[in-house]
Subunit: 334 residues, 6 copies
């Protein structure tokens, strides 16, 4: 069932249609996300969902390259079309979407970049724009959550190979791509009891490295548990954990197996297939999502381009969720 859209809304929304591949080839034109219109954040009137690049990988402790993720995902995303064939969601008919460009990062200064990101997304929140961010390394999620969760601790579905709830590394560095969710819980912008992490795997630095997260009430579903119990059961539990409140979806491309996503800084074998990832994302329809991100696509590490491809197509799937949520809220508010 699709949410109805008023005629006035439909007219407004229609100004934000992607270029059609039936008229010009998908490889033509500047590569904006999904071939959407480009708007600067200060002239984004009418926009409901803003796609934003965050080309920062200065907090990665492994192989770099995710700073080139936004360009790679933009290019790959131009292959997506108008309608989700599985869910029937037509995102560009449900909500006004635009490419809002990139956050002005400082590649050398993680703290300064976090401040810029937080300000950027706070501004979007002020305008009522729901963001879909494309990283960049996973640290970028922390300032986004600060902006979106300020005053309303969010629920979280976090799909990833890693829990990213470390504390410090290298004698005290606190802002790394391994710490965003710990920092966000500490900052009070995530409600740990409404958080679920799915797909966690890979060897550990210490046997107790997940104790903090579990102690906070974060639910960690390892890849082994996900396989053993089956995704339908996992998704049902995840939906119950997150509940009806405002929630955020963070998708780290390394949740996928390296066969599907070799181009990422910290790959771990034994991950999800693309089909499973599609199932997971689609199954989250109906959550009250107020934002989402897709991170850790590192194009230089993948000469075949399948990582950016998966990133671009999953970004489309996530966009469908957000458009559905926007339309639901609009309908609810109507």
């Amino acid at each position: 069932m699709h949410h109805s859209v008023s005629e006035a809304d439909a007219a407004r929304i229609a100004r934000f249609r992607p270029a059609s591949g039936m008229e010009t080839p998908r490889f033509a034109g500047l590569a904006s996300f999904m071939r959407l219109p480009v708007r600067a954040p200060d002239s984004a009137e009418g926009v409901e969902i803003g796609l934003v690049g965050i080309p920062f990988d200065g907090a990665t402790t492994n192989r770099p390259g995710a700073r080139l993720g936004p360009r790679g995902v933009r290019e790959a995303s131009t292959g997506t079309r108008m309608v989700n064939h599985a869910s029937g969601i037509a995102p560009y008919a449900l909500a006004a979407c635009a490419d809002l460009g990139d956050v002005p990062v400082n590649p050398i200064d993680a703290a300064a970049t976090c401040r810029r990101i937080e300000a950027f997304f706070a501004d979007l929140r002020g305008q009522g724009i729901v963001p879909l961010a494309v990283g960049g390394d996973h640290l970028v999620t922390y300032p986004i959550l600060r902006a979106l969760g300020q005053g309303r601790p969010l629920g979280l579905v976090h799909i990833d190979a890693h829990s990213d709830t470390d504390d410090v590394q290298y004698d005290g560095t606190r802002l790394t791509h391994g710490t965003p969710f710990r920092r966000a819980v500490e900052a009070g912008v995530l409600d740990p009891r409404r958080c679920v992490q799915i797909g966690i795997r890979g060897s550990m630095d210490a046997a107790d490295e997940r104790d903090w997260a579990c102690g906070q009430g974060i639910r960690i579903v390892t890849m082994e548990e996900a396989v053993a119990r089956g995704l339908p059961e996992i998704v049902a539990e995840a939906r119950a954990i997150v509940g009806a409140g405002p929630a955020y979806l963070s998708f780290d491309i390394d949740a996928l197996d390296p066969a599907y996503a070799p181009g990422t800084g910290t790959p771990e074998i034994g991950g999800f297939t693309a089909r499973e990832a599609l199932y997971l994302v689609r199954a989250l329809r109906g959550l009250d999502l107020v934002g989402a991100d897709l991170v850790e696509v590192a194009p230089p590490l993948d000469p075949s381009g399948v990582t950016a491809l998966a990133g671009g197509q999953l970004a489309f799937e996530i966009l469908c969720l957000l458009a559905d949520a926007v339309a639901a809220r609009r309908a609810g508010a109507g």
Copy 2:
């Protein structure tokens, strides 16, 4: 159970054995399909199955490169051996196979190329040679079907991410790699009620884009349905749809997930694994196949070469089906 071959036939067939990897390495020698003998179409006496390259990608609306598919698949196919380990089929003992070279395409002119392809395959049909074509983009299937289905509308098993039943694109272009099956139905060389498409997925240009195909009676099995019901059930239905009449198998390599086949123009995540593809092809044994193709392998888009590898090994599997069908018909006629 394998079809028996008379002594006279066996002697004739024995002249068409591939070079053996036990005598010279598989990487040695010119790369013909499966290291088979090479024959020009006008000196193909005794040949029962002809492998043919069609190095044309001038009808692709996405990323090009499939014109280099025949060379890539030839090279990769030299790694295949004599006997199918799963089915036990020994194709070179069942039928006389040869590499017949490439159709003389015009890379710039789709219509002229279609005429040349149709003439080439009509000639093979006239000689009683069953073709296994290697593309090239998917448009090439249309003129093949015109040649093989003239006077006997064929059934079809079509394994692909895309239905390829579009009508026109870019203000009226009718011959693209997205239209071959529509054109073939219009030309009366495909019987749509005996057609099944398996693996269809990916976002759609419009919500109604599959209406024409379904309206004609073509059965579309989406990837989601295939996963939900399971391949055995899908295959059983496909066999029932195609029935006992003459049939064609068209395998677009993008049916595979991009992890398995990154080297193709229009990849869609969430596709078949190679194991599923092997299952599907092998399960079609016994259909009355009069030809087949494998298309859309684009080597420049895959630096690891797994796409051509999958293409070459699936071509061997399809060849086993054709050899079995040839032997069945010979035995039936005997």
Copy 3:
């Protein structure tokens, strides 16, 4: 010596500055040419130089991929900066430059695409915009020349491995990437006696294949002659041939040696180094250029990306020539 710019012009021009790499990293933001502002051709008021992509390779008779050239060159060009360190030209201070997007090509129909290109560039000419086109295969130069040379046959500096003055191929195909300059001479939009081709090399289909061009008066400088006589002498002759009239510069990336530009459809060993190419382009300063192009960059054929890099940096050099010419004409008209 640099052309002076009036205060009023400077103010107008200042609205078209690229994003600075000192403020946001060069890998940030959508990849427009040189990080320039983007304007649609129908809202290009004030623009003096328009960078235009032509993502078409449907006329290539060799390896495809140049349709992806505009995206590759755009991305690589974002690494260029504000001032030419060798000539001192500051193009964005001399002329108002913008990225005008791509021509809406039809990848399957060379004739239709030529019509669209011609109309696109005729419109730019009507607006007084000097184009810098990025291909695409070399056929695209033909319709550009039709638009720019209509009524005023142009002079030409053509840097390339191939003369591209063939007549027909494959039983009569006349619009290929090997024929644009013959077609342009036939159409009366090029003045062959003011045309010079530099860097021609590679084995020939026939001993007399350059007779037509030479017979028309086109001056062909082979690579061997260029090396033997030295570039200063070649450039002096080229400038004399082209003279003071309106002229066009066409740079095929395969003029470079494959070590410098592997990502192109028809590479020929023994080409120019990048240093020589920089010398050649810079030495053309002062010609009355009314347009230019850079073609045949095929990113899928170059996993290291140096071809697009050379393309992007040479496009900047060519842009400096055009900006200088625009400023010269403005100054002359003032």
Copy 4:
């Protein structure tokens, strides 16, 4: 349940800890296996498990490159950490592990290299060091088995696409990467009735090519059987076949599907996923393993590096098995 380690042993073992990624990044420092300390075999006192490279591919009959496997696997293995998240095994707390460098191979002489390998591993056996070898092509397993099985024919779990029990090739060559297990059975160092091969697939040179192995009592589980019956059943049978006696694990990376491991000489589509491989390896815990190897990683054939990644992470999993076995034997002996 984990085996207990005495305080004295723990102190000794603690001298062989890998460098921690929490202190210096995993990409820092010389790439030893798992960032372990490096010891020459003649100064390996205290070492219980020795990781050894065998950079030899001179016996491969297909695409070469596995001679570069040890370096590739070393580098990729530096991303593994201290504790197995699935089994809880902390190998560096259970056994003293070290990188013992490479066997001094002769790339041109397979027989000489076999002698050197056998001597190298016989020496390790003499020192009571359990080896984990990283190839190299699969021939290297033969001399290892000669060293380890001398006087005590071993059981074997062999995970591979190929049975590698050929006899001769090319007029009598007996030492190839297709023959190690036949040679080992002939040499009396493998007990064929305690041998199981899992994942065998790919077309065959002859219908009877597995007859010798089966005739000897080797149990061959094809990929098709493994899929049909499910891995738990297969593993149970394998454990029963190998039994309680001393055993060896040989893992050929081409057991994985080419999507997961494109960088290998003789890829066969339809292989195991990485998740299945992890399951298989982990399920072998408890066997009395006296050595193991991981072979046929050929980095030049995989520009994305996922093959070496899978190799490095599977090597860690195998190391966990060996450490567990060492601790079990130590506890049993204590």
Copy 5:
């Protein structure tokens, strides 16, 4: 000046024309050398120049991959055309050329392979066929020289980064890709005083490693000397050294700088450019060449393909020399 060809010869020669790129695209059809007709050595009547692949790299002491050289060079060579644009030589009008397939090598046994190569080329010599061999590693030159120099010690122009006159390696291995010219001198099939090596460079294992070669009278021109004196002077000296007697040309692709030929086992920076290589080869016209080879192209080490491209185009240049020599001898004999 070109050698005249009698009408009868011209008619015979005309049966061995390559397929024309003006009729079918160069990427079409099986990849034979230069798209030439294929003949087995035992049915090569009328052939004067035979192109032969030797897919063997079992004697390489560095990175492997040259066994895939013949396929890579064949594919790249299909881009060459009919006439040498620099020299005007039209090889297919001067001599009957054919692709004679590959020598049946044993990848594991260097000695056996040498015997097979020698027999193969002795047979060609017996038929009066001049060979152009494509390796394979450089050891293959040794058995070729044994076949061609038997009874008439040959002169040699050897273009390479390495002298390849080592004696033994690894405790006595005498047949490696570093020893062919020492072995050939020892066998009496090379006349060392008529041998010149050009382009030698790279660090040395010992200060006296060139003493043996110099002591024999072989003239070694280092890269540094070649640069300092200039190629014209070097070539003049080389021609004087080789003189008028029968001679052989051996071109190791690693003579080129790695920028031009990254795909080779033992690259050394500071090598020839492609333009210099073309100059060197063309300048050898007029030598009494009785055979030639091009070796050490290793396609897996070069994802951009420029190495095979250089190999294919240099092979065409060498073919022009051989055709000229064949025509000269025919004219001289006439």
Copy 6:
């Protein structure tokens, strides 16, 4: 002329010989720099030249990847041998060389990393070890210079495409890979009047961006000047500028043209060839070098590996300079 070495020194030095490629293949064994022995800095007794990796690219403002430079250069450097064929220098006979591992960097914190680097190199200086550092991005040179130039401002030969004398970027970031030499001059550890930068090129952010450097007395030789005047003249001037005092050599791999070194973060076309780079480095023999570095090799950006190859072979050349300088000082002190 080579510096003599006393018998006692020769005996000490002989303990630090690299593994020989005549005994084990160059691809065997752990990849230490030049296959040298590995010593920790705290047990480096007897070492005179220490090769050190600095795997840090956290200060790069362009494409990352140089953190993987030390591993890439180590691996490529294993192909170098014992004696410089051009100069005759045998570095391992002149000085005791060892691989001292990597500086323990913090990938996220440039300031902390600078402190660690400075401390590391100050310790080496205290031990009398001359360092050859391999980066990493160019910022790493700044703390090295702080350690080596403390109390004795150094002269500098700086070979690079970029001057790297910027002041700040992104609102005040002072430690970037574009600022090391400005910071070093400000810190008084470089004597700007004894500094020369060679090869500078590429477009500029502002017309006056080199004013600061020139104002300080640094001599900037652009690529254009270097080509115009010729390298012998440039080198003579550089030697005169640096003079007889203690000096440092910093080689940024992007000084090479991208054809020779595509794998670097900020490539600029029109750079040096490898032959020119060899000439430049060798021509610096005799300077009183107290340290050197080679930086900005970014392996993920170069799938062919030629960049790391150039880095490894140039590192050998630089090592020859350092060994010569060490021997000269030893001889002078003796």
